[in-house]
């Protein structure tokens, strides 16, 4: 009948979820950044929120990887040519498609976030998200075809 519930620590501050008498803070669920990606019971706005966070982290990671890869230039033509041959492999091209997905999702949703975040077209935010994602999917499709056909 009884089922244990996993506890998750809360943070100190205005709304620290402390249970009176308990030895440590307790909250029923979804405390901390891991709660950002908990989609149970969430709606479209949360999906947009999660997508923006994940793609944002992905694009940030890419920027650092890009700098590391560019540093190959300092190691001379041989090192760079070696990287270029790797970059033309199908697996690497697939990563390019993933990168394009991240850029499109984050960039297009970023336009929505900017507009809505300054109090514009608030009541159309769901439709705007759907429209931008459809647009992004079309561009991603064309981009993926070009990536794989032109190398």
């Amino acid at each position: 009948m009884s089922e244990q519930v996993r506890l998750r620590g809360g943070e100190p501050g205005l709304a620290a979820p402390t249970v009176p008498g308990a030895s440590r803070p307790v909250s029923p669920r979804r405390r901390g950044p891991l709660g950002w990606v908990d989609v149970r019971g969430r709606r479209l706005g949360s999906w947009a929120f999660i997508l923006n966070r994940l793609t944002g982290l992905g694009v940030l990671l890419y920027l650092y990887l890009h700098l590391v890869i560019l540093s190959q230039l300092a190691r001379g033509p041989a090192a760079w040519d070696s990287f270029v041959s790797l970059a033309l492999s199908p697996a690497f091209l697939l990563l390019d498609v993933v990168l394009l997905f991240g850029l499109l999702a984050h960039g297009l949703n970023g336009i929505r976030v900017t507009l809505v975040g300054f109090g514009l077209v608030i009541d159309r935010q769901k439709a705007m998200f759907a429209a931008f994602m459809v647009l992004g999917a079309l561009v991603l499709l064309v981009g993926a075809l070009r990536i794989f056909t032109t190398g």
Binding site: V5, G13, A15, A22, R29, R31
Partner: protein
């Protein structure tokens, strides 16, 4: 605690509905002061076509486990006290039909991101404190109609604005979940009312308060607060409008036209 029990004190004329009663399993969050860990208890309740989650919980407390703690009052979505999480979503239990949930098991939890008091009851002091920060504009005084009869001792009527202080928006917001310093949707929606319609309060000061990294700018547009709100307050829209007003004020300041309004 898994025996099926009919709802107590069925209303008159409910015989036909009683014949249509089906057993529904309730999985209820339990925690009492001193408990090391929370757990879930399961109960079976007879649910008719009009049975709400709150009806079921009251039936459990009345006929199966009198130690079950929950907050409720009006039974018609006015008081906001029965806000809780049902099947992972923030709802008012009094207007959530059990059968319309469409699940064999109804999982009931207290609202998230608030201090627990006992079982499904949470301490609402945090919410009230947040509302006080923005001058608590929830009650406004309406004019007494000249033809109305006013009871002795009543000087004026108080009319509640839409927010029923249920805390569902705070439970649904992913930013409140991870950053307790964030002022939160309920207080920001209340702040927008002060800014937009000061009614003698200091709207400029309230706008300055919300124009902060932990104020309106902390929102990340998940819009879950507005989805959860049972009273059409639309906190997310209010937060965006606060941002627009704040951005406008900043722009005017940059352009040196702050006093030209």
């Amino acid at each position: 605690m898994s025996q099926s029990q009919p709802l107590p004190s069925a209303p008159p004329g409910a015989a036909r509905a009683a014949a249509d009663t089906r057993p529904v399993r309730f999985r209820v969050f339990r925690w009492k002061k001193g408990d090391e860990t929370p757990h879930f208890d399961e109960f079976t309740v007879g649910a008719g076509p009009a049975t709400t989650v709150l009806d079921g919980l009251v039936a459990i407390r009345t006929t199966q486990d009198p130690s079950l703690t929950l907050r409720h009052s009006c039974f018609h979505a006015s008081c906001g006290t029965c806000g809780m999480r049902v099947n992972e979503r923030e709802v008012l239990a009094c207007v959530t039909n059990v059968r319309e949930l469409g699940t064999e098991t109804v999982t009931v939890e207290p609202i998230a991101n608030q201090n627990l008091v006992s079982d499904l009851a949470t301490d609402m002091v945090d919410l009230y404190g947040r509302l006080d920060v923005v001058d608590r504009p929830l009650i406004r005084q309406s004019e007494i109609h000249p033809d109305s009869e006013v009871a002795d001792g009543v000087a004026e009527h108080g009319r509640f604005e839409d927010c029923i202080e249920c805390g569902l928006c705070l439970s649904a917001c992913p930013i409140v979940a991870s950053d307790p310093r964030y002022l939160g949707p309920a207080a920001l929606a209340a702040a927008w009312r002060v800014v937009d319609e000061p009614r003698g309060r200091d709207g400029v000061a309230v706008l300055a308060l919300t124009d902060d990294a932990q104020g309106s700018w902390r929102c990340h547009l998940a819009f879950e607060c507005s989805e959860a709100c049972p009273s059409n307050v639309d906190p997310a829209a209010a937060i965006m409008l606060l941002r627009r007003r704040s951005a406008g004020e900043r722009l005017r300041t940059i352009l040196g036209r702050r006093d030209a309004r």
